[in-house]
């Protein structure tokens, strides 16, 4: 087995006296779809915020091994304490639980923002509009449009993001994250608020992203049907601790997991 692309070791996060994450160990292999589940308040989003640089964890290691782009040797890197934009540059892009698009920008511009960290033109280029900058700008537009076509949002290209239907906004977040050329896509409750039909489309979209774009995926989700059908492996959290991990079938029948979600049996009787 090769190095995992994301290897989280003993990650701990304290908010004052509250231990939100408690010695968490999670690893993701290249090409996997991994789900992170748990009851509300288990610390799933805190975990996301820690590995994407929004919070700096109290202790522990977050190691990433980006797949080498051209024959170079992959090397593990510790990314604790990097800023969110640096994490994104390293190749981990995320979406948000409550949609965070740029509401007054067009759909295409939203995706173009994702290209920001892969382009370089500065103030001088912007003012003098030299050939390199014009070319770069056109490439950004073309790549962004192609991503929208893949995600199935091409017909909304010039609409403002705030005017999109809900399901399309969720997909646009994924498109924007993909534009940063990630090797790992972190989806925070992508199916929240979607109807069964939209959820089915999302299932298909996520599998397609993994297969065609060679992007590994880590998702937080409450929709168990989606989680079970989609993921290769599942991690279960409760009170900041990992309580179980394994393939969907194992998790489904794991008594600890059932207890965490439903409470113990005699609780219901008493």
């Amino acid at each position: 087995m090769t190095d995992p692309i994301l290897d989280v070791r003993n990650l701990t996060m304290d908010f004052g006296g509250l231990r939100a994450l408690d010695h968490l160990n999670i690893d993701i292999q290249q090409g996997e779809i991994v789900a992170l589940i748990g009851p509300n308040g288990a610390g799933k989003t805190t975990f996301f915020n820690c590995i994407t640089g929004i919070y700096t964890p109290t202790s522990g290691d977050i190691l990433i091994t980006a797949p080498p782009r051209s024959g170079a040797v992959a090397k593990a890197e510790r990314i604790n304490g990097l800023k969110p934009n640096q994490v994104t540059e390293k190749g981990m892009a995320r979406t948000f639980q409550n949609i965070r698009l740029f509401p007054n920008m067009t759909v295409l511009e939203n995706v173009m923002i994702g290209r920001h960290c892969r382009t370089h033109s500065g103030i001088v280029g912007a003012v003098f509009r030299n050939r390199a900058m014009v070319k770069e700008e056109q490439t950004v537009v073309d790549i962004s449009y192609r991503i929208l076509e893949k995600i199935g949002l091409a017909r909304f290209v010039n609409d403002l993001a705030k005017n999109l239907p809900y399901g399309a906004q969720r997909r646009l977040e994924i498109a924007r994250a993909l534009a940063t050329e990630p090797f790992l896509l972190l989806l925070d409750e992508p199916a929240a608020g979607m109807n069964p039909h939209e959820t089915l489309e999302l299932d298909e979209l996520i599998t397609r992203i993994r297969d065609q774009e060679k992007v590994s995926i880590l998702l937080i989700e409450h929709d168990m049907k989606l989680v079970m059908s989609l993921s290769d492996r599942i991690f279960v959290m409760d009170y900041g601790k990992k309580i179980a991990q394994g393939a969907p079938e194992e998790i489904r029948n794991n008594p600890v997991v059932i207890k965490a979600y439903l409470g113990e049996e005699f609780d219901a009787e008493s």
């Binding site: 948000f96 698009l101 509401p103 007054n104 920008m105 067009t106 537009v141 076509e149």
Partner: protein
């Protein structure tokens, strides 16, 4: 459209206003003859006026709501006349030509007083466009913008006074110093946003003004610096009118240069990053944009224009003192940006011309000037909060992949 209930509402409004204004509009006490004069006619005027005003107010509110619904369903005609002129080519070219001829002819038709007012207005156009970068594009509410204006003005004033350095040498230097102060202000406020940012920038503006007012050895305090040299034109000796015209065309050039640069900036990678920062700071960072750098460039580039206009201001008035750089100036420039439409270049230009020229031409009503000014602001914010010309996102050309 006007139903009975509408009339009733307006009638009640009229009654209420008659009651409220009763003590000041109706009763007048003559303290010499010790009698009270009852001016009942005034009460009638107030009643009639407030009745019709409230009818009109509600009518326009209804129209505005209908308008915003129409805009959502995306039918045409929801643009205003100005927006149509600025977006459609067949109106745009004749309008631009007419404007260009007007601009060139202006100082030759009008007298020196009018030209001088126009120069002031043009200075505010550039200030508005500069602040537009910070407030309109990057969404950082800056209430101390005038500080950078002061930095530019004092740069020229002091350098000219002590070393006799000419206008053209100081102009870029003023811009650079403005940018430097922009970064200086930017660093401590990187973590702040919204109201807190506004308060800190307000404080910064006041600090600069107080330093200039109290540090006598450096800035000559409230008495200011006099006899600053006007801009030179290859060493030519200009007449009084010639100098005003020269300054006018210099300002026109400055405005065009600013529009050119700001327009290119806002349609570039950096401009998009600013707008993303305005829209959602956390998402913007998560998408790989360096927040620190983006904010500092916005502050620096915004302040550059203020610095350069400051140099021109010192050269125009030939005298500067701290009184020219009060908070009121910052508020004025901010009003220009808000009234014109956040992020919209044409809107800011028009708003600057209106807000600076209107008070000058309304000197006949000078007692009511501020009243009118306030009324215009209130009415604008109620009926057209997006500004005179709303910023329209541009669409890009892209290749469709057929497969």
């Amino acid at each position: 459209m006007t139903t009975f209930s509408e009339l009733k509402k307006s009638f009640l409004t009229a009654l209420w206003f008659m009651f409220l204004t009763f003590p000041i509009m109706v009763i007048r006490v003559n303290t010499i003859d010790k009698i009270v004069i009852w001016r009942w006619r005034n009460m009638g005027y107030v009643g009639v006026a407030s009745f019709f005003l409230s009818l009109a107010w509600r009518y326009f509110l209804r129209r505005k709501e209908a308008g915003s619904k129409r805009a959502l369903s995306r039918t045409a005609n929801s643009q205003t006349l100005l927006e149509r002129i600025s977006s459609e080519r067949r109106y745009k070219i004749p309008a631009m030509t007419a404007a260009a001829i007007g601009i060139i002819m202006f100082p030759f038709i009008m007298n020196s007083y009018q030209t001088n007012i126009m120069i002031t207005a043009l200075m505010y156009v550039v200030l508005g466009l500069g602040l537009n970068i910070v407030v309109g594009l990057a969404g950082l509410l800056d209430l101390g913008y005038v500080a950078f204006y002061a930095v530019g003005a004092y740069t020229y004033g002091l350098l000219n006074h002590h070393f006799g350095i000419g206008f053209w040498a100081v102009l870029p230097l003023g811009g650079a110093l403005g940018a430097l102060f922009g970064v200086l202000l930017g660093f401590p406020v990187l973590r702040l946003r919204g109201d807190y940012l506004a308060i800190v920038t307000l404080g910064f503006g006041e600090i600069i003004r107080l330093i200039l007012e109290n540090w006598n050895e450096f800035s000559y305090g409230p008495s200011g610096i006099a006899h600053i040299a006007r801009p030179s034109l290859f060493g030519l000796k200009l007449s009084f009118f010639g100098e005003i015209r020269y300054l006018y065309f210099l300002m026109i050039g400055m405005v065009l240069f600013t529009i050119f640069v700001v327009n290119r900036l806002q349609n570039s990678r950096i401009g998009r990053a600013w707008i993303a920062l305005r829209e959602d700071e956390i998402a913007c960072q998560a998408m790989g944009i360096d927040k620190t750098r983006t904010k500092l460039t916005a502050f620096a580039l915004g302040a550059t224009w203020a610095g350069m206009v400051g140099v021109i201001f010192a050269a125009k008035t030939t005298f500067i003192n701290p009184d020219s750089f009060t908070f009121l100036e910052s508020a004025m420039i901010l009003s220009i940006v808000v009234l014109g439409g956040m992020g919209s270049i044409l809107g800011v230009v028009i708003a600057a011309l209106i807000l600076i020229l209107l008070p000058e031409y309304l000197r006949a009503f000078s007692d009511y000037r501020m009243l009118l000014f306030g009324a215009i602001m209130v009415i604008m914010m109620v009926f057209r909060p997006q500004g005179i010309i709303a910023n329209v996102r541009r669409s890009y050309n892209f290749k469709k992949v057929e497969d």
